[in-house]
Every structure is written in structure tokens, then in C-alpha cells.
């Protein structure tokens, strides 16, 4: 009985691999069709050997670390500023009236729209990339923090008043925890956007290391195999970030009623 159950759990997990395997098979079939196809759909063994190549030369690792550091710096700065501004706008009506219209106008401009200006002002190096990532993680944090803090229960605030709790304590112990599900959604989006925008900005601001830059260089020298290795690494890294953050937030929000 026990083993049967184990098998069904294993089978369930296996389902996630069905589609990738099918895609790989299709890829292999297409790449074997002719030499012309093999240029765009690089055969799997070629990809594997170039993966080995970039791993051994260390260039994958160096560029991955560079990208991750850009992403995390931007996420940290943009996220904290977003948390602060979202809190300010949610808790202070004057600030909301003052900053709100500007914020909502500015956020309508797509990130790509800022690229020429940022390039002009800050060059095409690390600063410009980090700034793009900051912006990408800033918006979702502001919006979700704002929404979360506005959703705090009046009843809980009354309890805080009855207990003679200070404003800062109310923010720290009532507002923030009760907004935490929203804030985590914000971080979740910010995390995804920061990774996407890191790679995007590396493709556009090519100075310095990064997976995007590696990809750009590979494309220039017609190394489709390395481009594909980059695409795969970006996808897998994003997935790992996603999964680990979901785990973390599930643990931190364990006080919530599980539906």
C-alpha cells in the first residue's frame, strides 16, 4: 500500500517532465532534418558540448554571477524604496495626493521607453543596468504595499489603540504583518521583473559581464549553441528563484488560513 502511494506521488511529479521531453524530441527531429535546420535548431549533443565548454571555461559562471548581482542589487534598492514609498502613500493622505499622480503617470511609461534616456544620462554600464532593474522592481512593490496597507482591518487598529501602542509599533506589528501577503506578492512580481529586466538591460547596455552580454556576443559570432545555453540558464535560474521564494513565503505566511 505504502509503495503504491509513493509511486503515485512519483508519477505526479513525473507529469511536469512530460512536456519538456516531448519538446526535446521534437527539437531533435527538426535539427536532424537538414543542415539548414541545424543552424537554427542546434542538435542536442552540440548544445551539451557547448554547455560543457562554457562551464569549463568559467564564462557561464562569471556571467551568471554578474547578472545575479545586478538583479539582486536592483531588487534590493528598488524594492526597499518601493516599500517605503508605498507605505508613505498608504498611510499619509497628503503624501498620497502629492506623489500619487506623478507616480501613476510615470509608471505608465514602459521600461523600454526609459532605455534611451537612461543610456544618455548614465551610460551603458552597470549603473544604467541597475537603474533599469530598480525601476522594474520598484513599481510592483509600491502598488502591492499600498494595496496591502490600505486593506488592514480597522478592528485590529482599534485593538492597537486600546493597548496604547505607538504609531511606529502599529506600523511594525499591525500594518506590515497584515499587509505581508500583498507585500509578498509584490516581492514575487519584483523578483520576476528584476530578473527579466536584468537580462533585457544586458542585451541593450552591452558593457560589462552578464548572461545578456554573453548572449549578445554569441549571436554576433553566430554561436547559436551558446545563445541557447544562455536562454536555458536564464529560464532555469528564474524558475529556481520562483520556487525558492514560493517556499519561503509559504513558511512565513503559515499563520494564514489554508484554503
Amino acid at each position: 500500500m505504502e509503495t503504491l502511494w509513493d509511486f503515485s506521488a512519483f508519477a505526479k511529479r513525473l507529469k511536469g517532465f512530460v512536456l519538456p521531453v516531448l519538446l526535446l524530441l521534437a527539437w531533435e527531429v527538426v535539427s536532424k532534418k537538414s543542415h539548414a535546420y541545424a543552424l537554427a535548431f542546434v542538435p542536442l549533443e552540440a548544445i551539451a558540448s557547448s554547455l560543457l565548454e562554457v562551464v569549463q571555461s568559467g564564462s557561464l559562471f562569471t556571467n551568471l554571477i554578474a547578472s545575479l548581482s545586478t538583479a539582486s542589487t536592483g531588487l534590493l534598492i528598488g524594492g526597499s524604496v518601493g516599500l517605503a514609498l508605498g507605505s508613505l502613500m498608504a498611510l499619509n493622505q497628503v503624501a498620497d495626493k502629492f506623489v500619487g499622480p506623478v507616480f501613476h503617470t510615470v509608471r505608465q511609461v514602459p521600461l523600454l521607453g526609459w532605455i534611451p534616456l537612461i543610456g544618455l544620462w548614465f551610460g551603458n554600464g552597470l549603473l544604467a543596468k541597475t537603474l533599469v532593474v530598480c525601476l522594474a522592481s520598484f513599481y510592483p512593490m509600491v502598488l502591492n504595499t499600498y494595496e496591502g496597507l490600505k486593506n488592514v482591518e480597522k478592528n485590529h487598529l482599534e485593538v492597537a489603540r486600546v493597548l496604547g501602542v505607538s504609531r511606529w509599533q502599529t506600523y511594525r506589528y499591525i500594518f506590515i504583518p497584515s499587509a505581508l501577503p500583498f507585500i509578498f506578492t509584490g516581492i514575487f512580481h519584483a523578483l520576476a521583473f528584476s530578473w527579466i529586466s536584468t537580462v533585457g538591460s544586458e542585451l541593450l547596455f552591452t558593457a560589462g559581464p552578464g548572461l545578456g552580454s554573453l548572449m549578445q556576443t554569441a549571436q554576433m559570432s553566430a554561436r547559436m549553441d551558446i545563445v541557447i545555453v544562455c536562454v536555458l540558464s536564464i529560464g532555469v535560474t528564474g524558475l529556481l528563484m520562483n520556487v525558492s521564494f514560493t517556499r519561503l513565503s509559504r513558511h512565513l505566511l503559515r499563520w494564514r488560513v489554508t484554503r
Binding site: N155, H156, V159, R161, V162, L163, Y173, P177, S178, R254
Partner: protein, 305 residues
Amino acid sequence: MTGLPALSSRIVPPRSKYSMSNLIHPDFSRSAKSMSGELSIQSLHKQYPLEKKRLNVLEDINLNILPGEFVSIVGPSGCGKSTILRLVVGLDADYQGRILLDGDPIKSTCTERGIVFQDHRLFPWMTVADNIGFALINRDVPAAEKRDIVARNIQRVNLGGFENAYPHQLSGGMAQRAAIARALVNEPKILLLDEPLGALDALTRLYLQAELQRIWIEHRSTMIMVTHDVEEALFLGDRVVVMQSNPGRIKRVVNVPLDHPRDRSSPVFHRLKDEILEDLIDTDSAAQAKRAKAEFYSLPRADVG
């Protein structure tokens, strides 16, 4: 028994067939403090704005509550009985008249006044122990002592073993007990209970009524409870304040000349219950008649209440 304050002899006359000595907490040092907690409400008026008009919620409320007394307030919905508690606890300072606790006017909230609401209002992100401990956040005592106080109060409401449970893991009755512990942890001079058992099932209610009584006897602080349940009001209250609505006024104050713990089947208990119910039905039908009359003459409803 000589160490007992005069108060308890009032509650438990020596002729009582129920001996209270086994119900009273041995820690009498607390009872000295409990001799404060005298609440005086003097010509209290309260209005709410309603469509440019001002609706009288409370009109000329006068009530003196002795230290250590348990007063129940019953009345129809909308008679402002919960509003009184909100004013006493200090959540609303917009009223006319005077509310004095031990002679000092009440201006805002303070830990010497505790309140338990109908919904437990525990913070879902904190465990039971953290919820109760949060009430001590600004108390100037070392962390270890805070932990002791919390543990003692968890024992006091019989929640031992649930220190680390989150509110969603508790039953309604358990959550309400945790809320009572949170209100008691600062040893308030006066504890306000705003329909604390209103949302619970009948059996849990009966059980918690007895629990409340035990806590009241141990804690010896003044308590005011608002309730819809006349039997509950009579079971716990030294006095029962009967209110009427439109505008909210005190209709009658009933003294309950029965010993604690009370026998719900005693004839006096039944007579008082019938009397109070009659009062309530009376005010209800009177208000209805008034409303019907107002509609008949098509007066705006706000004029009559």
C-alpha cells in the same frame, strides 16, 4: 476569610449555601488594587451625524459602578449599549457629559481599561502567546517577566498547551478566551465586555459564562458586560442595566439579590428574567408604535429617532 475585602462579603453573604471560599483565588494581594476601579458616568450624551442631522444615540446616561462590581447592560439593538463601552474604553472622545474612573476623566485609551469585543480580534499572524504578550509591549518589565505574566494568563483562561497555536487553529470559544487573557494581562482596573459570548454556540456560551465568573472572582476588578442574553446578564451581573432605544436611555436598573454562583432555576432568577424580558419587549413595541405613527404622519424618520 478575614483577609477578604468587604466587597466579597457583599457578593457572598455568610448564609450562602454555596461556599465561595474554594472559588476565590488565594492571591489576595491583588484584591487591594481592585478596590479602585470605580466608574462614574454623569449625564452622558452622545450623538452621531446622520445626513446633516444629529442622531441622539445616548441621552442622559447616569450610572455609578462600584469597584469590583459586575454590571450587565441589556437592551434592544441600536440602544447604544456598545457605544457606552467604546466611550468608556476611550476609543471615541466625542461626547457630552462626564465619564470618570476613580475620579479622573477618561480622555483616551489606557491599559488600565481593557476590552473584549464580540469578534476576538486576535492578530492572525501572531501565536496565542504573542497575541497576549503584545498587550505588554510598552510595559517596562524584563522579557522573562513578560513571558511569566503571559504564561500565568494563559493558565488563567485554561489555554495551556495552545501557546504556540495561531488563531485560525482555535475554536471560537478558545479564541475568545485568548482575547480575554489579552485584556486581562495588564490587570486593568475595569474590564469591558462587548457581547463577548455573542458569536458562540449555546454550550460554549454556558461554559464561558462560568469561566468569566471564575475569572471575575479571581481578578476582583470591575466588569461591565453588554449582552443580548438576559439570562447571561442575570447570571453574571450584580446589577442589570436595562436600556431602551431611540434615543438610547437607561430604562431601569435591576439589582440581582442572588448569591454567586447563581442557580438559573431559582424562582427569583426566573421572576427577574421575566421582568426584564417584559421591559425589553415593552420598549421594543413602544418604539415600533412610535415609528408606525411617524410613518403615518410621514414625518422624516430621523425626527423620531
